[in-house]
Symmetry: C2
Subunit: 338 residues, 2 copies
């Protein structure tokens, strides 16, 4: 356990969910952008809540723990910690051990969390997931790592529920595990890490608003079986391509016949950008999460930079403010840096 | 090129298509059962067709090449060979080389094919695929192997069209390539071989008729998006499990929420058998192709034998004639044995 009042620093990576054909199941973490956070355990004054959120950015996100994604994730963690503590306390009382001294009582000790969001909220690269995941990984570290990564994903999903109304793990999983992850199922949670070859990701965030809830509500609830078969052929191809390190197969499999045709309508310039990025050599790409960010994967850095130039050209031409990132896959997940 | 009149012997393995969650894309070959075939090149008498089919089993399958699955596959092969030969002849005439002497003229030379079907037609373990694939692999060998495996799959798919009305490759691909195969897409054809750990397959063929065309027509043309997501999570999990050699992941991923609930109604005892096989330790399994055969995969031979006993018990109890096989994954695809 880290002593009370000692700050730790946390780096929580942005993530790209869906990975084109893997709607709701695939995702990967990137080295840039990332959120910076600081956390510590503090002694509470009588009546003080066990979670204090301090935003040190300009996004004016809510600081009430229940309404804040990091707060909601920490509430879930504290609940389970306390429930387990009670069990352990009763066990240790029975066996007369001293283990109970190591347990934290969240009626007298709490978390203080400073959040510096460098991943713009609503950009579609896992901004909410970074805060939720960063908070629970940090909390776990402060408590002496009593929880597994799967536990932490479960807690952090409560943050996603605050952000989008749905407890999904396709950003949380890569944020906590790093690399490319497969969420085979949510209940019970099962996350599989997929090895991948070196890949460059170029991301553009056109500064328009696409609310996750909207992007979800426009999806059709039924799909044609023939399209579903195409999609799962691509998903199988993408998993095989990643695991074999077969760049061409990865490229051919990065095709989405179900979600992209519907959602891309919300993103100005999408079709033109896709054509342009493939022309300069990108393996493939599409909408990041529910958008509006768009990502393309490349084998070589030069290609990734050429893709960035296409993104800049297109959105400059459309007169839309935008940010671009040329980055690589982040392999470790949320890091405690200090 | 093998001299005219010299017989070759061919062994064409049975195959299990779909592999539970991978409808229309996944399949694997097994070491037992298999078809035996013999083929040779013969000089034709004037007016004789270039394909002669001789059935040496009791199934009384059609021998007219257009109506026979092996015949239809060979027709496609001869067509492409002849088209390519004409191109090569004109090229060699231009360059004055002797290459044209190696080319066969199918107006004077033809194939004679003896088929001994040991894989019962209509059993759902790729009986038609074995004949089509065996014929084109044999023909390719007789001609000096001018065609690639992908070419041979394309030709053999014409046999599947004769058998079921649909040019599908999910049995043909594993029959020709061996092992576990992924058909990422049909047009243009793309087959990916997937490494897999040692697996035992137990297969039961209850002697009822399920016509492939019927099994296809009862499928719903639309599926719920949430089911499709479950299915592609399982497909991704299965591919990852096979490539990682993770038996537990393979087992958890062998679940089909889309096709099996509809098709299993056609197979008496399916649900009871599934429960019984899992209880004795099978990793998982389901309908082989469009049925009626059912297969289960096991890590250990003892489990595979216990699964066989459950199959025998169930169908004996139901008073249904049946055959069982305990076998392993066939790794090489159609073999020329002599």
């Amino acid at each position: 356990m880290v002593p009370v009042h000692q700050w730790i620093k946390i780096k929580a990576p942005a993530t790209v969910a869906n990975m084109v054909c893997g709607f709701d199941i695939l995702g990967f973490a990137v080295n840039n952008p990332y959120d910076e956070m600081e956390m510590r355990l503090v002694n509470l004054t009588p009546g003080q809540a066990p979670i204090t959120i301090i935003n040190i950015d300009d996004y004016q996100l809510p600081t009430e723990p229940e309404k804040n994604v990091a707060g909601a994730a920490l509430i879930a963690l504290i609940e389970e910690y306390t429930a387990n503590s009670l069990i352990e306390k009763s066990l240790s009382a029975a066996s007369d051990s001293a283990a109970k001294n190591d347990l934290i009582d969240f009626s007298v000790i709490g978390f203080e969390v400073k959040i510096n969001k460098l991943i713009k909220p609503g950009s579609g690269v896992g901004s909410s997931a970074a805060s939720s995941a960063g908070a629970v990984v940090g909390a776990n570290y402060l408590l002496g790592n009593p929880f597994s990564k799967d536990d932490l994903v479960r807690f952090a999903m409560n943050g996603e529920k605050v952000a989008s109304g749905v407890k999904h793990a396709d950003n949380i999983a890569p944020c906590i595990y790093g690399g490319v992850t497969l969420v085979r199922q949510i209940y019970p949670l099962e996350i599989i890490t997929l090895p991948s070859p070196d890949l460059y990701a170029t991301i553009v965030h056109p500064q328009i608003e696409v609310r996750t809830a909207d992007a979800r509500s426009i999806l059709k609830q039924n799909v044609q079986l023939k399209d579903a078969i195409k999609q799962w052929g691509n998903i199988a191809g993408l998993v095989a391509g990643l695991m074999k390190g077969d760049y061409d197969l990865i490229g051919r499999s990065l095709e989405d016949v179900i979600i992209e045709p519907v959602r891309s309508i919300l993103i100005p310039g999408f079709d033109d950008l896709k054509k342009a990025c493939k022309l300069v050599g990108a393996l493939g790409g599409g909408i990041s999460g529910s958008g509006p960010s768009i990502f393309f994967l490349s084998k070589e850095k030069e290609t990734a930079l050429a893709v960035e130039q296409e993104m800049i050209n297109l959105y400059t031409g459309l007169g839309l403010a935008h940010h671009t990132y040329v980055t690589t896959i982040h392999q470790t997940g949320v890091e405690i840096t200090e």
